[in-house]
């Protein structure tokens, strides 16, 4: 079985993401990376929890002054929905429907970009309305490191998926690129997993006080 072999719906394997040795290695290696990412984000969460609301003087904004339900809710819905659209993309990948997969990946990228835009607006708002910056307090440093690292992951994921889409746009699906698409979708879901904890621990717990 050649990675570059041309397939039809009838000959397309049931699990293209694990059909070749390279694919199996990618799959395993990527999950190992996600285990490491879990630790990375956990340390950032730990730092944030330790430094939450630690400000040098009373005129600095605290979590309950900064966060608002509508913005956090909108961002959450955007990212959660983009997770579903990438599930749809992988559904079409398994059914060997390249065009539909590209369409759903495009939707995923659009939703992710909207999320990122909202986050940029949010950071800008905190800096200019509240003077809440990376260097204004320990709270500020911990907040921007955690949420910014996640935003950086989103930006990287957008570039990654867009690159895959463009790079393979004329190639169609084969066993060389199917694992690449699959691994990118795993990454995208992982970003959403991290966001579930961010909206709960940072935004919702911040509003509780």
């Amino acid at each position: 079985m050649q990675a570059e072999e041309r397939f039809t719906y009838e000959t397309w394997p049931a699990e293209p993401e694990k059909a070749t040795l390279e694919a199996k290695n990618k799959f395993l290696g990527f999950w190992f990376f996600l285990g490491g990412e879990t630790v990375l984000f956990a340390t950032l969460f730990a730092t944030y929890l330790a430094l939450k609301d630690k400000v040098p003087s009373a005129d600095h904004a605290l979590a309950k002054d900064l966060f608002e339900i509508p913005l956090a809710f909108a961002a959450t819905m955007l990212l959660l929905t983009s997770s579903l659209t990438s599930v749809y993309a992988m559904y079409h990948m398994k059914n060997f429907q390249f065009k539909k997969m590209q369409l759903w990946l495009g939707l995923t990228v659009a939703l992710g970009a909207a999320f990122l835009g909202l986050e940029i607006y949010e950071f800008n708002h905190y800096v200019h309305q509240f003077g809440h910056t990376f260097t204004s307090s320990a709270f500020g440093s911990a907040f921007y490191t955690l949420v910014g690292f996640h935003g950086g992951h989103v930006a990287f994921g957008l570039l990654w998926i867009t690159t895959l889409m463009i790079r393979n746009s004329k190639r169609g699906l084969n066993l060389y690129n199917a694992p690449k698409f699959y691994v990118a979708s795993l990454y995208w879901h992982f970003i959403d997993v991290v966001w579930v904890f961010i909206f709960t621990v940072v935004y919702l717990m911040g509003m509780v006080g």
Partner: protein, 111 residues
């Protein structure tokens, strides 16, 4: 196994069965997505509602987040499928180290 057919040159794979199986899995994905949206809304409402104290709300929303992440991992990231023993080992090792770190930072830090 007919569905594990991975090479061309053997067209005996049951495409109808596979299509059905994929469609069935997609239905589960939609159900888990609906549940995830529902859990998210419950969390936001619990925080927006003034009647609950923080002592109830915080553990409650963390529990909902954990449930939601389990859906994400086992359905969206397919960890419920066969062949995910090594991924589980990697992920749960990460979770263990992460949990100890968070526990340490939120209990024994003095400032």
């Amino acid at each position: 196994m007919a569905n594990q057919q991975s090479s061309s040159g053997n067209p005996s794979v049951d495409t109808e069965y596979r299509r059905k199986k994929n469609a069935e899995e997609m239905r589960y994905q939609i159900v888990s997505f609906t549940l995830m949206i529902f859990l998210t809304i419950v969390s936001f409402v619990a925080v927006g509602y003034e009647g609950f104290s923080g002592w109830f709300t915080v553990p409650f929303i963390i529990l909902l987040a954990v449930i939601q992440v389990i859906f994400q991992l086992y359905y969206f990231m397919h960890m419920s499928h066969k062949g995910h023993e090594a991924p589980s080992l990697f992920l749960y090792s990460g979770v263990l180290v992460g949990a100890v770190t968070i526990l340490a930072f939120s209990t024994i830090i003095w400032w």
